[in-house]
């Protein structure tokens, strides 16, 4: 019994057993995050969202520049008396 417990402690699995009450929510039974296995869905969503955001930003900026130039042309053509 003691030997197997010591073996379990060496493997680092001492606190892994969840409590028997299934309906309690407790911070003490949170699973250890496994950073060795990539969360590919999360990675894909993050990169996809980043690409979409950059595309949106660059598109918005180019539209802003075009609209500003267009309004400048319109203003120069329109009125000469209010300068």
């Amino acid at each position: 019994m003691a030997a197997s417990l010591r073996a379990v402690r060496r493997l680092g699995l001492v606190a892994a057993a969840p409590p028997s009450l299934a309906f309690t929510r407790s911070a003490f039974v949170a699973k250890k995050a496994d950073n060795a296995q990539p969360n590919w869905l999360g990675v894909g969503l993050a990169f996809g969202t980043s690409a979409a955001l950059w595309a949106l930003l660059v598109k918005q900026h180019n539209e802003d520049v075009k609209e500003y130039e267009r309004r400048k042309q319109a203003r120069e053509h329109k009125c000469r008396e209010c300068s």
Binding site: N35, G42, A46, S50, L57, V58, D64, V65, E67, Y68
Partner: protein, 95 residues
């Protein structure tokens, strides 16, 4: 209250990488690095997708905030110059 009224488009748009977007992008990147540090992951090498996403989000929000700030400043300047035009007597001393 509209975030960017239509007349803000008459202003020259700020460059894509301006003080707001660069600073907030840097802040987003820093928060990803700090998140790595708090979760005891390698600070620069872990979660590159997270770093890129938060930096992008910062740049996006920063760009639109700078656009709104420039619009608000231009609006106040316009009102100031209109007031100065209507009250030239009060502003003779500076001329």
């Amino acid at each position: 209250m509209v975030f960017l009224p239509d007349e803000s488009r008459s202003l020259p748009p700020p460059p894509l990488l301006n003080k707001g977007s660069v600073w907030l992008g840097f802040a987003g990147w820093m928060s990803a690095l700090i998140d790595n540090a708090f979760n005891q992951r390698p600070i620069f090498g872990a979660g590159v997708h997270r770093q890129i996403l938060l930096a992008t989000l910062g740049c996006f929000v920063g760009y639109h905030l700078v656009k709104r700030a420039e619009y608000m400043h231009a609006k106040v300047d316009r009102e100031l110059f209109e007031y100065m035009r209507h009250h030239p007597v009060d502003f003779q001393g500076s001329g």
